[in-house]
Amino acid sequence: MPLLEVKNVKKIYSTRFSGNRVTALTDVNLSVDEGEFVAIMGESGSGKTTLLNIIAAMDDATSGEVFLNGTNIKDIKENKLAEFRRKKFGFVFQEFNLLDTFSIGDNIRLPLVLDDRKAAEIDDKVIPLASKLGIKEILDKYPYEVAGGQKQRAALCRAAVMNPSLLLADEPTGSLDSKSTGEVLHLFEEIHEDGQTILMVTHSVKAASHASRVLFIKDGAVYHQVYKGDLSNHEFYNKISDSLQVLLGGSR
């Protein structure tokens, strides 16, 4: 059984007053197995983020179903949803979404604290992971005091600290310079190697080339995918580029 299964998901937005309907997703089907690192690529407005939000139960699908570990997300009661998200998902966003009122360390501790973990357990989890991600020294600093790459490492640390079933990343390198991008993607790979399942949405070929499988989404539906197999990141980069050139008419 796959870890995540998305079946015939459709999303139509209608504006409140004019009644205009905009179809964001027409019919999405995909599945992610445990331990996979999947990237979803598509142009701006292709519905990538909408899909991610539906998977994370932050938005409702107009029709279709999403299963995580065989549980239909729709069946989860409203008051259990926050807990479900906290326990099952980790999030990394383009804009880091660190809380500016919290130190870097407290940002990372937040999901554990929300989960009522013991004080000793919290630091046992946070410190090793922070060392691994190279941010142990900045745990007492505030987000505005550190650079973009460090913020995204902190966000990654926060997402991974709960050992979620699925780590969701939305354009995690979108706001980073190329050096930081490389470092952060390398860390994604490391975490993946430790067994973390990752689903990343991006339009960066470089980011996608670190994944083990890339899905292409166009006009609200998945219509192609490529596997990394034994290819190196560089080779996979070229393969993705080629696919994009053929399938999307050259746009990146």
Binding site: A56, M58, R85, N97, V113
Partner: protein
């Protein structure tokens, strides 16, 4: 083109209704209260009340205090509001509007705001005026009337006040605009606070200053009536109050962060979901909040001390009142026709006062002086040297004495009864040269309650006989010790005329003393509402009434100041929550994504509110406790005995202030919660 400034200004206000409507409304309410105070101080319906003069002065002082405090507050709030506007000015500036154009926009904005709030305020004032006037009249026990009144002068003063305040605000805003560079405003929101050793050091300094202030307050002597102590103590009190204000702000700015940081260091305490979010948020923005919290602490201290002092005064005043207005109410009705039914007159005042006794009271004294000393001389001597050479006797006839005491005086027809306040060393001689036989009667409480410490002569006979006796001895006095001697200052003709006049007009001088079984409130009701043609009423209640008026006036002033505090608290909390809500909304959005539910959001918001409520009020209560010496000292200046515990009153007032604050806080937190849950649109 000229209209464009107006349009920009108008759009800015109408688009940010959520910010400006409460601002307009609160300044309108302040204008309304100002209008009410000025009108009350000028209204003949209120100034004609008993104690109305006092009230008028208090209302005028109240208006001035109110104006000063509201001005400061309006300027403070305008800073709050324009904080959000600076980015917009910066964008307009970058787009090509010069500072002089922005100046125009600022002035137009303030013009729109001042006109709308002054119009609402004055209309509100006119509408509510009658209600307040009736309340004041009722409160002071005057005669209700339903004429509408309108004070053009009050309208003018209120308009002028708005003009002044908004001009000041405009000038400050323009000055800030010229002092700033637009780029500064376009930078992102404020950075968080870093703690350090400096914070600990300053916190210790704050504690030290506070300790010194408390020490000074506690060194004020418990009784200020001793000469020189009042001035020195007042200086001490003012000095320590300034120290307390300084220490409070230092403690909130530095101490709070230090304490919160220590709390954060305890992992067991900090790593709990409610504490975690609340503490982090509080530490982060404490410096900005600290000023607001310090202000709330000082305001609360004022409110608590004022309320405690007033309750203390009122409670103690009861003591004073019962000494000047005994349980049994005694009123002198003069100018009342004989045989008039005073019981039914008193019954008609509407209260439950029951007439116990009515008796005719002789309105004049007898005075005897030592040999060869006229009354005038004696009187002057008594005034200038303080040594009495004359003694006074109140006169009462036998019948009235019985009516007053319920006992027959045991005297025969040629004897006078006497009740002596002071021992009498000499013999009394009447006009014919006969010495008066005196029978000393026992002191009697009923008599004392009417005549105080005077010596009292009880005449053997009824009131008509007493009148005759009095006239034959001289209208005005003189029973000399050694020989009867008419007042040398009056010619015999003058004396004759005076005697005749007194005899003819005796009816209009005729005085009845009524004693009534009634509570103080009932006495007051009778005193205020008795209505007999040509009759005058005098009573010890009159002193009490003046005293009560002063207290009521102070209560009124106090409640006006409380209203102001209330408005200030509501508005401060509203804007604090509004702007913090806007700042925090993205954070809560992130937290929701990370799996925080709405229940937890509510709880952390209330936890923060409680912390930012408990801290200032707890400190305010401690401040108030230490004001005891001075406050009680001042109350004792009124010769009032203070028997209750001031500390308990402080606790009581603190509880009341806390409840009010909690209600406001919960309502204001609603705004915050709505914003952070995304139910209100961004400002």
């Amino acid at each position: 083109m000229r209209n464009i400034y107006f349009r920009i200004a108008f759009n800015a206000i109408s688009k940010k209704r959520i910010v400006y409507i409460p601002y307009i409304f609160s300044t309108a309410v302040m204008g309304m209260v100002l209008y009410l105070l000025i009108s009350l101080s000028r209204d003949s319906h209120t100034t004609d009340l008993i104690g109305g003069e006092v009230f008028s002065v208090i209302a005028r002082i109240g208006a001035i205090i109110f104006f000063i405090l509201s001005t400061i507050f309006s300027i403070y709030i305008s800073f709050f509001i324009t904080r959000g506007r600076h980015k917009e000015y910066a964008v307009l500036n970058v787009l090509g509007l010069e500072k002089k154009h922005l100046t125009k926009i600022i002035f137009i904005e303030n013009l729109i705001l001042s006109v709308s709030s002054s119009v609402i305020g004055i209309i509100g004032g006119i509408v509510f005026y009658k209600l307040i006037e009736l309340a004041v009249i009722k409160f002071f026990g005057g005669i209700i009337n339903y004429e509408m009144s309108f004070e053009p002068m009050a309208v003018a003063i209120v308009f002028l006040s708005y003009l002044l305040v908004y001009s000041a605000i405009s000038v400050i805003q323009v000055a800030l605009l010229y002092l700033s560079r637009p780029v500064e405003y376009m930078k992102s929101a404020s950075k968080g606070e870093r703690k350090g050793k400096l914070y600990v050091l300053f916190s210790l300094l704050g504690i030290l200053i506070l300790a010194v202030a408390y020490k000074i307050e506690y060194s004020i002597p418990p009784d200020l009536r001793i000469t020189n102590f009042i001035g020195r103590s007042t200086r001490q009190f003012i000095f320590s109050s300034i120290l307390i204000v300084v220490a409070t702000f230092i403690l909130f700015v530095f101490g709070s962060v230090t304490v919160l940081s220590v709390m954060k260091k305890s992992k067991r305490l900090f790593y709990r979901k409610y504490n975690f979010i609340s503490l982090s948020t509080l530490v982060f923005r404490m410096r900005r909040s600290a000023i607001g919290l310090g202000t709330i602490c000082i305001l609360s201290t004022l409110a608590i001390v004022l309320a405690s002092a007033l309750i203390s005064f009122a409670v103690s005043a009861d003591d004073y009142l019962s000494s000047i207005a005994p349980e049994t109410f005694i009123a002198r009705f003069s100018g009342v026709e004989g045989g008039m039914d005073l019981a039914s007159i008193i019954g008609a005042t509407g209260g439950n006062a029951k007439v116990k006794r009515v008796y005719e009271s002789f309105p004049y004294f007898m005075v005897y002086t030592k040999k060869d000393t006229s009354y005038h001389e004696a009187n002057e001597a008594s005034l200038t040297e303080g040594g009495f050479t004359a003694e006074y006797f109140s006169l009462i006839d036998e019948v009235s004495y019985s009516a007053l005491t319920g006992e027959d005086p045991d005297i025969s027809d040629d004897e006078f009864g006497v009740i002596m306040g002071k021992p009498l060393s000499e013999t009394l001689i009447d006009a014919s040269g006969e010495s008066i036989k005196l029978v000393v009667l026992e002191d009697n409480e009923s008599v004392r309650s009417v005549y105080g410490e005077n010596n009292i002569l009880i005449f053997p006979g009824d009131s008509q006989a007493l009148l005759k006796y009095y006239l034959s001895n001289d209208i005005r006095f003189i029973v000399n010790i050694e020989k009867s001697d008419y007042d040398i200052r009056q010619t015999p003709e003058e004396l004759e005329t005076a005697k005749k006049k007194f005899e003819d007009e005796y009816d209009s001088y005729r005085t009845y003393v009524v004693s009534v079984d009634a509570s103080y409130a009932e006495q007051y009701l009778v005193y205020m509402n008795v209505d007999v043609d040509g009759a005058r009423i005098e009573s010890t209640t009159e002193d009490a009434v003046n005293f009560i008026s002063a207290i009521k006036g102070l209560f009124f002033l106090c409640s006006i100041i409380m209203v102001l505090f209330f408005i200030m608290m509501v508005v401060t909390l509203y804007y604090k929550n509004l702007f913090e809500g806007i700042e925090d909304a993205p954070n809560y959005e992130i937290m929701r994504k990370l799996g925080m539910d709405d229940k937890l959001i509510n709880r952390t918001v209330y936890a923060q509110m409680i912390i930012s409520l408990v801290l200032p009020i707890a400190l305010a209560a401690v401040h108030a406790m230490f004001s005891e010496r001075y406050v009680i000292g001042i109350i004792k200046m009124f010769e009032v005995r203070v028997t209750h515990s001031f500390q308990w009153l402080v606790i009581l007032s603190t509880v009341i202030v806390t409840i009010i604050y909690l209600i406001i806080g919960i309502i204001a937190s609603g705004t915050y919660i709505k914003i952070v849950k995304g139910k209100k649109q961004e400002v």
